[in-house]
């Protein structure tokens, strides 16, 4: 536990040691703020729906930026050799890194609180979908993070990690989208729709928290963290 916490602290702090954190948070807030308020004044409805419906697409570009350096940088600097010769288990490092990225993403997402506050100030919005939306956003974000973190461990180039992560998340997202589903044979469609990263987000976003959705996201996260541990271990048998 203490080891995970030490890694977590180091990783979390490293975001704020460089301008990355500030640039990232600002860009995310400006971008999503613009999309939110544009829709808000156009539609004139007291709802967060437009904000949440665009979020998976925003995450597609923002989340890989959070994870791209986490392993790639260690490999490039050679610090991975230090890290792997400290008395730590591989899984402790992977979990520590993941938790740091998750806390950072959570803070960024929660900094959008002025949006719902505006709604409450102007009107009486339905609170269920807002809480559900945020929860779904964090779960989906965590799934993207675990994918991005795994891909970062495969390369020592941050840009490669960034782009490949976008593509992987994109692929896992669109397999659940209507356009893809209609092109599939009818027996495959429900499976793909269930496996798609977006389907469960929409489901939680309606304000109904179903254990199947939670289990789905948690399985995706664990699966990619497991792959990550294996890929870190691969130095031993290559």
């Amino acid at each position: 536990m203490r080891n995970i916490f030490a890694i977590f602290k180091k990783e979390f702090r490293s975001y704020f040691n460089s301008p990355i954190a500030y640039i990232f948070i600002t860009a995310f807030l400006v971008f999503s703020g613009w999309l939110f308020f544009r829709g808000f004044f156009l539609i004139g409805e007291a709802t967060m729906r437009p904000f949440f419906s665009i979020l998976p697409w925003e995450f597609l570009f923002f989340v890989p930026a959070v994870t791209m350096r986490m392993w790639a940088e260690e490999k490039k600097l050679g610090t991975i050799e230090l890290l792997m010769t400290f008395p730590l288990n591989d899984y402790e490092i992977v979990i520590g890194k993941f938790l740091a990225a998750f806390l950072f993403l959570t803070i960024t997402v929660l900094l959008t609180f002025p949006f719902p506050l505006t709604l409450f100030y102007l009107n009486k919005p339905d609170i269920g979908p807002i809480i559900g939306g945020y929860l779904g956003a964090l779960l989906m974000g965590a799934a993207y993070l675990s994918i991005g973190l795994f891909i970062s461990s495969l390369t020592e180039n941050q840009i490669v990690a960034f782009i490949v992560s976008i593509f992987t998340c994109f692929a896992l997202f669109i397999i659940g989208e209507q356009i893809v589903l209609t092109a599939l044979p009818s027996w495959l469609a429900p499976i793909f729709s269930f496996l798609g990263l977006g389907y469960h987000f929409e489901s939680i976003g309606r304000g109904v928290i179903d254990s199947r959705d939670l289990i789905y996201y948690i399985s995706v996260i664990i699966f990619f963290l497991f792959l990550n541990i294996r890929s870190v271990e691969s130095r031993k048998w290559r």
Binding site: L77, P87, R235
Partner: protein
């Protein structure tokens, strides 16, 4: 303290370490010497549990590097090649991070960092970002990292690369000081460094050990026991040569050159015989004059060259 038996490691088809065995005793400073790509770093990576060997076994303090990997890692302080560091971290944060991972009790961390910073001459650099430091100071940060948990074993992979001569001397004396109580393996391809700091040397080439022993032993081994003496004598050439050859203990002698009636010879003595005194007496007895008498000292550099070049 450290035992390596029949260690072999391949990277694909290339054999990086080929069946090497050696031992390091407690309190010893071992120099691990070899040209680039000889397998030094690979051996160190196996010892530090970064990767397992394909065959063979390495133990540290009786603990196996594969089975008791975590315990072995606790005992070792490791400075990898090129001193990797997190450049965006502050020195103090970095040392805190390492101290936490090295399981130093939280209440003692501050005092320990101060102590280590003082030992490594980092007192004034603690509140700087590592990226701002000069190369010499970065190296000290790397060393501080290896020492923070007071490990029994120190493994340093080329700790002085890229430093200026003054810094090299400082780091070397630091290593020597530390090495009084610890077991140290120092990898290097810089000969004077190893000679200046180590009690024992292992020379490795193409993954194989080609020489091992104290610097003196290695020199003797490389010479094959015979010694070469250069002597310049002023006198009649034929007679000198004849008498030199006849001298007991001399294996061969040949004329190298002459100048103003002086003749310079290279005299090879038989194994383990110092012929200098006999040569001097010969000259005196014949009433010649002696202008040069020099025994060649085989330097570690010659040994290294001899052991690691293809011709031998």
């Amino acid at each position: 303290m450290i035992t390596v038996t029949n260690l072999t490691k391949r990277y694909g088809p290339t054999l990086a370490v080929d069946n090497i065995s050696f031992e390091v005793k407690k309190g010893e400073i071992l120099g691990f010497l070899g040209p680039n790509g000889a397998g030094k770093s690979t051996t160190m990576r196996i010892l530090t549990c970064y990767m397992p060997p394909d065959e063979g076994k390495a133990t540290v303090d009786g603990l196996d590097t594969i089975e008791d990997s975590l315990k072995v890692r606790e005992k070792i302080g490791y400075l990898p090649e090129n001193t990797p560091l997190y450049y965006d971290m502050w020195v103090i944060d970095y040392l805190k991070f390492v101290a936490e991972i090295r399981k130093i009790p939280p209440v003692k961390i501050k005092a320990r960092i101060r102590e280590i910073a003082h030992l490594c001459g980092l007192d004034k650099e603690l509140n700087k970002s590592i990226g701002q430091l000069s190369k010499g100071y970065r190296q000290r940060v790397g060393l501080a990292q290896t020492l923070i948990h007071n490990p029994d074993v120190l493994i340093l992979d080329e700790p002085t690369t890229g430093l200026d001569p003054n810094q090299i001397i400082e780091i070397r004396s630091l290593i020597k000081e530390i090495g009084r109580e610890k077991t140290v393996i120092l990898c290097s391809h810089i000969l004077p460094e190893v000679q200046a700091t180590c009690n024992r040397i292992i020379i490795i080439k193409d993954g194989k050990i080609v020489g091992s022993g104290t610097p003196e032993e290695l020199a003797a081994q490389a010479q094959g026991g015979e010694e070469i003496v250069y002597i310049t004598i002023n006198g009649p050439q034929d007679k000198i040569q004849e008498q030199l050859n006849a001298l007991e203990g001399v294996q061969s002698c040949c004329l190298l050159g002459s100048e103003n009636g002086s003749y310079r010879f290279e005299v090879k003595s038989k194994q383990g015989v110092d012929v200098r005194e006999a040569l001097f007496r010969l000259v005196v007895a014949n009433n010649w004059s002696l202008t040069e008498l020099m025994r060649t000292q085989i330097t570690l550099e010659d040994v290294f060259k001899q052991l690691t070049t293809e011709e031998n």
